[in-house]
């Protein structure tokens, strides 16, 4: 792929309000995941592994941590001269500034960036999904179909279909119909929100959409139906691997747990397609003389003196003597002190569970317990 054949626009502006306490201080793509990663690592690693060296990251909500985490992009090998990662926040022009109003509007406002790079194709991505995809293969399919727009799709359970944008296609994979959240789906192919556009077509569509008073400026709600109605060549690219949107506490917990076990659906250890991250430099973790660890992921800098089962301990976690942690996720710096018991919980960054506190419940009908970043849970506050 030549350097500017295809650039990516990565939508990372979301607040992720359904993640509650985990996104109080940071944007959703910056939330810690899988012990040493942050959610945006997956999309950035996909870009890097797919040979897409120019990535615009559209940010808007509380961006400090995200900006400093992305830095130069070097952690993902995306620090090329004349390319690499560019942070694209809202900005002002002679006529004032405006905030991103929808996914399409965010890209529209950065048409200047696309024009500057002058690519043939533009890949639109979301920064808050977990999956491993070779976008280059999707691009090959896009080119082979001479498509105007290729939408990445995956089959979902029929009962789930009404939660997604659903696509009906013909046998040549051409899109016949696109319906956002249909009540009676006639297909179970769901759009993953990953698009490849011909660049000139995208620019034209965005400009047209921008002056449309009726539009909500959203790719799914506005741009795609419009292009379909105009008879453009829309094709699907079917993906069959692991894919998750960790948009809620429940899905965050469930997806975290799916990394565990003998044959996890998502293999962090694949060498061909590594997930890269901007990890801090911390020493190997230590398991103490009475430590007991089974079915876990444990990141550097952690110390385990108690018992940890079926859990994820992120960087610099601490589990004290006689403490137990089960079915839980400790985000970076979380501390479970001596004798405390934590089950089915997510502990935010640098949060503390004080000695002998019991937190969470094994009762699956109850919500997963969530402790926000920097929160200290003392006796009586469980």
């Amino acid at each position: 792929m030549s350097k500017k054949e295809c650039i990516a626009m990565l939508l990372a502006g979301g607040q992720g309000s359904r993640l509650g306490a985990l996104t109080r201080g940071i944007a959703k793509p910056a939330v810690s995941f899988g012990g040493k990663y942050r959610i945006i690592d997956f999309a950035l690693s996909n870009c890097s592994n797919s040979g897409i060296g120019t990535v615009g990251v559209l940010t808007q909500y509380k961006p400090y941590l995200l900006h400093s985490y992305i830095g130069t992009g070097e952690a993902w090998n995306l620090d090329e001269r004349g390319g690499g990662v560019s942070i694209l926040p809202p900005y002002a022009t002679e006529t004032g500034g405006s905030w991103y109003e929808g996914t399409a509007d965010a890209v529209y406002q950065n048409i200047g960036y696309i024009e500057l790079n002058d690519p043939e194709y533009v890949l639109i991505l979301s920064g808050d999904q977990l999956y491993r995809m070779d976008y280059h293969k999707m691009l090959d399919s896009h080119i082979a179909h001479d498509a105007d727009l290729t939408i990445s799709v995956m089959p979902v359970a029929w009962e789930e279909a009404s939660r997604f944008g659903i696509i009906t296609k013909d046998e040549d994979d051409r899109v016949l119909k696109f319906t956002e959240k249909p009540t009676k789906p006639d297909s179970n192919l769901a759009s993953m929100g990953i698009y490849i556009f011909k660049a000139d077509l995208l620019l034209a569509a965005l400009k047209e959409d921008a002056i449309d008073q009726q539009s909500e400026h959203d790719f799914g709600k506005d741009i795609i139906p419009k292009l379909l109605g105009d008879g453009k060549r829309l094709y699907t690219y079917e993906f069959n691997g692991f894919w998750r949107d960790v948009g809620t506490i429940a899905s965050f917990h469930e997806t975290s747990m799916s990394l565990l076990g003998e044959q996890p659906e998502f293999d962090l250890y694949s060498k061909d397609f590594p997930i890269m991250s901007n990890a801090s430099t911390r020493p190997p973790h230590y398991v103490g003389p009475n430590g007991e660890v089974t079915d876990c992921l444990i990141a550097n800098g952690s110390r385990v003196y108690g018992t940890v089962k079926h859990s994820i301990l992120s960087i610099d976690s601490y589990v004290g003597e006689r403490a137990t942690v089960e079915d839980s996720v400790l985000l970076p710096g979380a501390r479970v002190k001596d004798g405390a018991h934590v089950v089915r919980a997510i502990l935010g960054e640098n949060s503390v569970v004080e000695e002998n506190v019991n937190l969470g419940s094994v009762d699956q009908t109850k919500d997963t317990a969530v402790i926000g970043d920097d929160v200290v849970v003392g006796k009586g506050e469980e």
Binding site: G35, E262, Y269, K271, R282, P283, G291, V293, T294, I298
Partner: protein
């Protein structure tokens, strides 16, 4: 602007070579799972705001340059200053004791001449410690000494450590080998850049000597003072001290003296996922690096990056380096296993606590 530049020496051979140091200088010996010995002096310098560091290269510089690379991981890939690779002299490889060989420094004089910082912090690379060089330089400035040497009160006998005789706060003699309570040199000192350049000139006739050997008879003339360091320091001179000082770190209170929030030990970054413990694993009193996958039993050991311990395998009181695989049912005990080894199923690799077994590097298979 900067107060000091750094100079790290690596161009000397070990007195007691082993399979571990056959193909690599001591400076690039893996340590504690993810580090190399040079990480410690390099991080100490960077943490003290030193942004220009010269590394005198050994003859077999491949592993060292592979590790330090562009200096990026230490923020030393800079437009001005940064990491300077300084060719060592061929002579260095034949000297075992000389950690600050005059000829090596003289050969790279231009590195010293080009800069304008008042001081040079020099360090060898086989003593592991996390030292605040700011305090060392402050003490040097305050005392007005010509050279301030980083020292520690020896906690036991060690024939490989340099001993300073100290009288009234000043060094008056130097010799090899320390006993308990002696002033042990941590192979690190600070000196003004000008004085170092002058010394190179004065001692040009004896440039085959170590700086402190050359100074031997001049302690009246030059004011050399020790700066006593109280924290953890571990000299790595042979397999025995390497093993012992690796195992030291199974004590978290010693870890805390090497790894502290304000002064991180920086090393080359890798994309290893967190360590994975499968059902049935049993691990205790061990340090485990990222990327390990453990189904077997590990105790009193240090595992490097990406080590795989299969089910039924046992690792006890051992150091297993990067990318080794301990196959199902195999047993490793009182051993140091260098990188890339595969220990076949149901085999044993056992030394004794007194005579640790060393298995040299395996073939790269990835």
């Amino acid at each position: 602007m900067a107060r000091a530049i750094g100079l790290i020496t690596t161009n000397y051979s070990t007195k007691n070579p082993s399979a571990l140091t056959e193909e690599r200088p001591v400076a690039s010996l893996p340590y504690l799972g993810r580090y190399r010995l040079i990480d410690f002096p390099l991080s100490n310098m960077v943490n003290a705001g030193i942004r220009t560091v010269g590394v005198v290269m050994p003859y077999n510089y491949r592993s060292l340059i592979d590790h330090v690379g562009s200096g990026k991981d230490w923020s030393l890939d800079r437009k001005n200053g940064g990491l300077f690779v300084l060719p060592g002299t061929a002579f260095g490889t034949s000297r075992t004791g000389a950690r600050f060989l005059l000829r090596d420094i003289e050969h790279n004089k231009v590195f010293l001449e080009r800069d304008t910082a008042p001081y040079v912090v020099c360090s060898a690379s086989n003593i592991v410690c996390n030292v605040d060089y700011h305090a060392l330089i402050d003490a040097h400035e305050a005392s007005g000494a010509d050279i301030t040497v980083l020292c520690q009160s020896a906690d036991g006998a060690d024939e490989d450590i340099t001993k300073f005789d100290v009288n009234d706060g000043r060094v008056c003699g130097v010799s090899h080998g320390v006993g308990f309570g002696d002033t042990a040199f941590l192979d690190c000192f600070v000196i003004s850049r000008d004085l170092l350049l002058n010394l190179l000139e004065w001692f040009s006739a004896v440039d085959y000597l170590d700086l402190f050997e050359a100074l031997q008879n001049d302690f009246q003339r030059f004011d050399v003072r020790p700066f006593m360091f109280e924290g953890y320091a571990a000299g790595i001179f042979n397999v025995r001290s390497y093993f012992r000082h690796s195992m030291d770190l199974l004590n978290p209170s010693i870890d805390d003296q090497l790894f502290m929030p304000g002064r991180p030990v920086l090393t080359k970054a890798h994309d290893n996922p967190p360590a994975k413990y499968e059902r049935g694993s049993h691990v205790c009193n061990s340090l485990v690096s990222a990327g390990c996958r453990i189904r077997g039993a590990v105790s009193d050991s240090v595992l490097g990056r990406g080590v795989i311990v299969e089910s039924g395998a046992t690792v006890r009181n051992s150091i297993v380096m990067q990318s080794c695989v301990i196959k199902s049912g195999a047993r490793v005990e009182n051993a140091i296993v260098d990188r890339n080894n595969v220990i076949p199923a149901r085999t044993e690799l056992r030394g004794t606590p007194e005579a640790v077994l060393v298995k040299g590097k395996g073939e790269v298979t990835e």
